[in-house]
Symmetry: none
Subunit: 353 residues, 2 copies
Amino acid sequence: MIKNITGSVDFIEYLRGKSATYLLSMSNTKTAQIEGITQAGIPGLIHLTPTLDAEFLCSGEVRSLENIAETPKGVPTPALITRAVHLLKPFKNIELLDLGIEVKPKLNYFKTHSFDISPSESITKGADIDAFELFQKGVEFGQNYEPTSDYVIVGESVPSGTTTALATALALGYDVKDKFSSSFKNIPTDIKKDVVNKALKNIENKVELFDKLAMVADNMLIFNAGFILGANSKDLKIVLAGGTQMACVLLIVDSILKQMDGIIDSSKFALCTTKWVYKDDSSDIKALLEMIDFKVDSYFSEFDFSLSNHPALKLYDEGEAKEGVGAGGALVYGIINGLDKKSITNKIETFLG
Amino acid sequence: MIKNITGSVDFIEYLRGKSATYLLSMSNTKTAQIEGITQAGIPGLIHLTPTLDAEFLCSGEVRSLENIAETPKGVPTPALITRAVHLLKPFKNIELLDLGIEVKPKLNYFKTHSFDISPSESITKGADIDAFELFQKGVEFGQNYEPTSDYVIVGESVPSGTTTALATALALGYDVKDKFSSSFKNIPTDIKKDVVNKALKNIENKVELFDKLAMVADNMLIFNAGFILGANSKDLKIVLAGGTQMACVLLIVDSILKQMDGIIDSSKFALCTTKWVYKDDSSDIKALLEMIDFKVDSYFSEFDFSLSNHPALKLYDEGEAKEGVGAGGALVYGIINGLDKKSITNKIETFLG
């Protein structure tokens, strides 16, 4: 049920039966307002997606809008998958990382870590991120964060995040064309390419790593690169729950280490994603992870919707949505804690009526 | 599977996946010796019910009597429900609060908190409770208690406790006639009314809150009102697991706050009960909770015995027993930790053969 993308099974086997805190990294980039760039939400209200994902994940309710976010094609948010796992085998905690969102989730009790971060600009306009300060906030959080659980799972909700991740990886000099995923099945290559090219044009004269990140990345990518590095001196295991965006977090870590001549103990973290990302013909997460100088353990869950007849869920199997809100990491967490495909499928179906 | 009676879902959603200590508050009032007043136990041996409930909940065995307590109509104690949940998804600890019981449970290892409290007299005879001292013992326990779990669930086993709760709420001036539950389906209204009227007659000349409580309440009600207030300054979440009796605990808290011009942070506790209490035609827990000045989050579990064919369990669905030994809170705890109706039903059936 869980397969390696890279590395060995030991990391994930070690986590069996241990308790997890789920951290949802939420951020907005105005890149998502570009028409046709993302499928992750409701047109005109794309910026609400992280807010709604957080509300649904924590409470089972969508509070900042009438209905749960789904794409124009009717693909329901992968938050349904993460929520289903949480109902069947609860995370010990869910906490939120506000990495610059427009609308705060309406939730009580659930801890939100705030860092005074604003949503970033569109990467076509230079993003306008104070990248080094943001990175340092991530490092500091990693150094100081003490979960009450055995490990943490870090998911994300960042509309148009695969576009900013692609631009970031290219800006850092990785040869990653055609290796990044998308929320679409038929990826709007022209729009995406155009946006990424514009972004890269903005940094033609930049040489410093953080100067580049400031203009082409998004808040989630930069913060979590800092988080991984900051937490690395501690005895804390981290699952990066996501696809090519989380791979890009690791490419940023890799770039920073190279620049600083630094080293990292990469036995303390791993990446977990979905089968839909792993099998995706238009991206290549394995190739991305293999570009990294340090060794990375990475996994995908074999879960798919073959046991469901629900047309909205079948869209996942057809490639219309692949990952998000830590769905892959949640599935892996569920499976190493005894859940099976049938029970997860049934629980997800209860959300759709 | 879990529905709000009052308030919002956030409190209970926040507790998903967190560990719980189950505290069983046990007390005897001689009110229970009045013939026909309660169905919660064996005629002539009603006082043994909390003792037997504690033994069965903790050990799966009934030690102070040959058989498990059941009513003359054959309704098994709700301790079966709480025990079933504990077997499927164990509480981290079960601890006992001896709030004045005639016979100590025969148990090793399980911690019993003792406070040198005697069983109370019948409320027809003025109950004879040192109410302020008892309240202070509750406050002190709340201030000092440090569970090793993330939160606590407080259940109760107090035969004739709905009668003393009704008398207490009326004595405190709440308009609660016909709003209190009973262990019976066809409530012995005349007997109960008669007992309550006698009790209220005893306090006709009393004006002080604690003077009234001393004569019409029971130990569990007064102690737990103190516990809620004492724990309120700490970061401890408390689930009051019970129906109208636990609502009465909150009415006492409300009365004390009004008298002292005090305030409480009611985000630290909630009430959880069963569907049988919520749907009960002869009581109204929602109305009781809405009489309270502070905001109360309250929930019921949708669990019933529709998946069972066992005649003794069917009596619950017919209204012959509704709550007790924290059954509703245990069901909510089970459900937020991934248990389903079928597995809980099956486990309860194993106790009945």
